[in-house]
């Protein structure tokens, strides 16, 4: 062992490699674990020969073409509609008082779990739902609900709506983050002085600058919408169901040989997502060419009021359906008997809370332990990566950003079962450590994305001044940079915390059932179908991220309330 001092790097420079290993290692191992059974290799069941039977079975399934088509159409439409609405809302209202009110609403809206939002929406719009109940029977004359197909419609419209109400707030948040990078307000003002209408000025002057920055989040929305399971099971069609639901159904079938077909379907799902991303990319390309021409013709924009009204209507509708849906579930959690057409429960009782409340202690503690550990790990890795990048002056390439997004682009059902087998193999399945590692895969990208821009936007001259006063690089990091970035650090932590709290499949599969969180308990109990339980868990699942987001805003405000310059770091 000869020391080789010239090869000794400081610990920090290993951070990017460690981060990549944490992100990509499990995904690649998991994908292999899915790819093998898709081609007939599953030794645990005695399948030891590679063949194409799973694929033949998959394509012989009745209605599989419709399942595939639904996956693509619902995913693409939900993404397109969400993006258009988010852009319209930004274009029409950015910089107004209304917009800052929407901004303040975003954290609580983002805290609503997808499944809870879907349950809430289902109760709102069903023929026996809350809206019909308000008007029945006095206005409609209905003593029993009409037999109309609204939820679970064969085109997936209800499902698209359920996705849009959750994705618009997410894209708005991403747009807001991107707006900080470009001088949006002045770009718009310049365009407006040239005679463009407010919306047209934003779309022609600002959007082309910021779309590249929200491109990856949009892709994540597309991948998520195509492979979502819980929302599809609550609001989506079932004759047939979208492909992702099929994967889970086959995976859970008592007939174990269907797992091969499930694996093939999971691989197909992954390929579909890739294809849809390709289509989207082509669309971007085409739109960019057409758009250039459209920009050059110099149309100043018409029907300004109509479009503004449309944007306002959209955001109102989204906020209203999320809030009313949650309100409905909250009411259910204290409801006694509540039958159609009563607009309110016949009586209110705390029976459900006292019944389920005490059992929540343990899952709550585990949820917190996992989320806090994961967030700390993610923050350490992220800061280490960003600091390395800063000190060594290397800029991230698009390729490495893609890698970061990989966990969000690969459908969870495609690699988690494979990962489970791996964890079982090395004997860590069912431990807190395994769950924490699995959560880290999904939390790290969000934390990184939330922190990267503010971190890179930090003025390096501050560091130069500190260095000229004799501070070491580490001292600058701890005493100057991190305190100045406290707000973005806390916001990133809150985003990561919310992500961890919401994880279902990763917790279930790597926890081996021994580690229970609020979310796994919620899903197990919700399989009993009682809206009262769903209401209780939806409120709790929402409360945790909400507290985290509130703390992220309150702590810096408290610490820095006498330092004007520190209050504007976000």
């Amino acid at each position: 062992m000869t020391p080789r001092p010239h090869h000794r790097k400081d610990l920090l420079s290993w951070a990017p490699w460690l981060t990549l290993l944490v992100l990509l290692g499990p995904i690649l191992m998991g994908l292999l674990g899915t790819l093998a059974p898709a081609f007939g290799w599953l030794p645990a069941l005695g399948h030891r020969e590679f063949d194409l039977t799973p694929w033949r079975d998959l394509f012989a399934e009745a209605g599989i073409a419709r399942s595939i088509q639904l996956s693509v159409t619902t995913g693409l439409s939900a993404t397109l509609i969400s993006l258009l609405l988010a852009v319209l809302i930004c274009a029409a209202w950015q910089g107004t008082g209304l917009f800052s009110r929407i901004e303040r609403l975003l954290p609580p809206l983002l805290s609503v779990p997808h499944a809870a939002a879907a349950f809430g929406l289902a109760f709102l719009i069903a023929p026996s739902g809350w809206i019909v109940r308000w008007f029945s029977p006095w206005a409609t004359g209905w003593d029993i609900p009409p037999d109309v197909l609204i939820v679970q419609d064969p085109w997936g419209l209800a499902m698209i709506a359920g996705l849009v109400v959750k994705e618009v707030p997410f894209l708005l948040l991403m747009l807001l983050a991107a707006l900080g990078q470009v001088d949006a307000t002045r770009s718009r003002l310049v365009a407006q002085t040239l005679g463009y209408g407010r919306i047209m000025a934003w779309i022609k002057g600002v959007l082309p600058q910021i779309y590249p920055q929200i491109r990856l989040p949009v892709y994540a929305v597309l991948a998520y919408s195509m492979s979502v399971v819980d929302v599809a099971m609550i609001l989506g069609p079932s004759t047939p169901a979208p492909l992702a639901v099929k994967v889970i159904t086959w995976m859970n079938d008592p007939d174990l040989s269907l797992r091969l077909r499930a694996a093939a379907a999971a691989v197909l799902q992954f390929l579909l997502v890739l294809a849809a991303l390709g289509i989207w990319k082509l669309g971007e390309f085409g739109l960019a060419r057409l758009g250039r021409h459209w920009l050059e013709t110099g149309g100043r924009g018409q029907r300004q009021a109509l479009w503004s009204g449309l944007g306002l209507g959209a955001i109102t509708l989204i906020v209203a359906s999320l809030v009313l849906g949650l309100l409905g579930l909250a009411l259910w959690s204290v409801a006694g008997l509540w039958v159609f057409p009563d607009a309110l429960p016949q009586h209110v009782t705390l029976q459900s809370w006292s019944r389920y409340g005490p059992a929540l202690g343990r899952p709550l503690v585990d949820t917190l332990i996992i989320a806090v550990t994961v967030v700390l790990l993610a923050l350490v890795l992220t800061v280490a990566c960003l600091e390395t990048e800063y000190r060594h002056g290397s800029r991230p390439t698009t390729r490495s950003l893609w890698l970061l997004y990989l966990p969000l682009l690969v459908p969870q059902v495609g690699f988690l079962p494979g990962l489970q087998v791996l964890f079982v193999g090395i004997g860590v399945n069912g431990t807190l450590g395994a769950v924490i590692l699995a959560h880290l895969i999904f939390v790290l990208p969000y934390v990184f994305l939330a922190l990267a821009d503010p971190y890179r936007a930090w003025d390096p001259r501050t560091g130069t001044v500190a260095a000229s006063l004799g501070a070491s690089a580490n001292r600058i990091l701890w005493r100057v940079r991190l305190p100045m970035l406290l707000t973005p650090l806390l916001v990133a932590a809150a985003v990561g915390f919310a992500t961890s709290v919401g994880q279902y499949l990763p917790t279930l599969l790597t926890g081996g059932g021994r580690i229970t969180t609020l979310t796994t308990e919620a899903v197990a109990l919700a399989s009993g179908g009682d809206r009262r339980i769903i209401g209780i868990y939806a409120l709790l699942q929402m409360a945790l991220p909400f507290i985290a987001f509130s703390l992220a805003i309150a702590i810096p405000a408290c610490l820095y309330h006498r330092r004007l310059g520190m209050r504007n770091t976000l």
């Binding site: 209605g63 029993i144 609900p145 004759t239 859970n252 007939d255 059992a359 087998v421 193999g425 009262r532």
Partner: protein
């Protein structure tokens, strides 16, 4: 002479090592040894967690086994038994043949058949349990035959289940008692009946029940069936569904995904007639305000399909002795009477109550009754589950004909 104690230690460890395999497979015939080994063990019971009453019952079982036998029972609440099967399968795939995460599974039917056929179960053990002697082997043959597959002691029964129909007596005072009557009623009241979408267990059971009600000779259901024979024999069912489907809730364009969703449709007033595989479900749902108190349970004339639910121990379970102690306690008169209590859970017992010693029978004599539950006489003798081949072909044909809306 420092080496000799070390040598002795090595020899001692070697003896230990050779002795351990015996204790790795506890023999239920030597019950005292099982009890000794079980003390201090922690048993992870993977059981469906969708019903708070069941969860409460299992929590009670845990308190009792801890106090009486020092067995620490933990329920792992799963949303589907297949999750536990996946776990065992994953462990098998990873070569983890001991110390597995699953000690006990609430299981029956297809899940049992797959685990047994893939040699993923420990056993046989169930019929050597001390409390096995009171199990109603004669009156409830399903405790020995799980979906026509002989259990052979690889799983121990703990509750009886039977298909029941339920209706809101205010909107539908006189429910249809046979499949033809159901069709006639649906003609007069379109859109007011639904069944869960096969391959959901309850949905498939409805198809099997319809076969029982439509076939001239239902005894063919108990035997394996070729595709050709199936196509001929099952024709009355598809004729029946051809007429029923347009009269279903949402005209058969959408189906509830499971029994829980079906119950919600009843609570929301979207349907007037529904079905369940737990005869006590309606009573307990009335108590939790999930259903109005006007809902009543009944069985079709000619009887309905019934089966037993079991507990099984995976081949690589960590606490085999503890799991057997829990399974044995589940078969005690006290536990069986508690689960049959309609105010607690309302699932019928697997024991031959009349054969119990008087002191044990007392537990059952004290049970209260509930308006929406049926007595053993009203439930009648359950019809046996058809052969698994029928299930498979039914699900396949249904998916082709009705799984893609037209």
């Amino acid at each position: 002479m420092l080496q000799s104690p070390a040598l002795a230690l090595v020899a001692f460890l070697a003896v230990l090592a050779f002795n351990t395999p015996a204790s790795a497979s506890p023999d239920p015939a030597d019950w005292d040894a099982v009890l000794t080994e079980a003390r201090g063990q922690r048993v992870y019971w993977h059981a469906w967690g969708g019903d708070a009453r069941v969860n409460d019952f299992i929590a009670w079982v845990g308190r009792e086994t801890r106090a009486r036998y020092g067995v620490d029972l933990r329920q792992v609440k799963v949303s589907d038994t297949a999750e536990a099967v996946s776990q065992v399968l994953g462990e098998k795939g990873a070569g983890r043949d001991t110390g597995g995460a699953v000690d006990l599974i609430w299981i029956n039917g297809e899940n049992f058949a797959t685990l047994k056929q893939n040699k993923l179960l420990f056993g046989p053990w169930a019929q050597q349990l001390p409390n096995w002697r009171y199990v109603d082997v004669g009156g409830k043959p399903t405790v020995l035959e799980d979906f026509t597959l002989a259990t052979e002691g690889y799983e121990a029964p703990w509750i009886m289940a039977q298909l029941v129909f339920y209706h809101d007596s205010r909107r539908l005072p006189e429910p249809p008692l046979s499949m033809p009557a159901l069709l006639a009623w649906a003609r007069a009241h379109p859109g007011r009946f639904a069944y869960p979408q096969p391959p959901d267990f309850l949905g498939t059971t409805f198809l099997k029940q319809a076969l029982y009600g439509l076939l001239e000779d239902p005894s063919v259901l108990l035997k394996p069936v070729s595709q050709d024979a199936f196509d001929t024999l099952s024709r009355p069912l598809w004729d029946f569904l051809e007429q029923l489907t347009p009269l279903l809730w949402r005209s058969g364009q959408a189906y509830p995904n499971n029994g829980a969703r079906l119950r919600q449709l009843m609570a929301d007033g979207e349907i007037d007639l529904a079905l369940s595989f737990n005869p006590g479900e309606v009573s307990t749902s009335i108590a939790t305000f999930e259903l109005p108190d006007s809902v009543r349970t009944y069985v079709l004339s000619g009887g309905t399909i019934g089966n037993s639910s079991f507990v099984a121990i995976p081949y690589n379970a960590n606490a085999i002795a503890g799991s057997m102690v829990v399974a044995n306690f589940l078969l005690s008169a006290e536990a069986q009477a508690r689960q049959q209590n309609p105010r607690i859970w309302g699932s019928p017992s697997v024991l031959a109550i009349d054969r119990l010693p008087a002191a044990e029978r007392r537990w059952f004599d004290q049970l209260p009754s509930a308006a929406a539950s049926l007595s053993a006489e009203q439930l009648g003798v359950p019809l046996p589950e058809p052969h698994p081949q029928w299930t498979e072909r039914l699900e396949q044909h249904w998916q082709q004909s009705y799984g893609v809306s037209r």
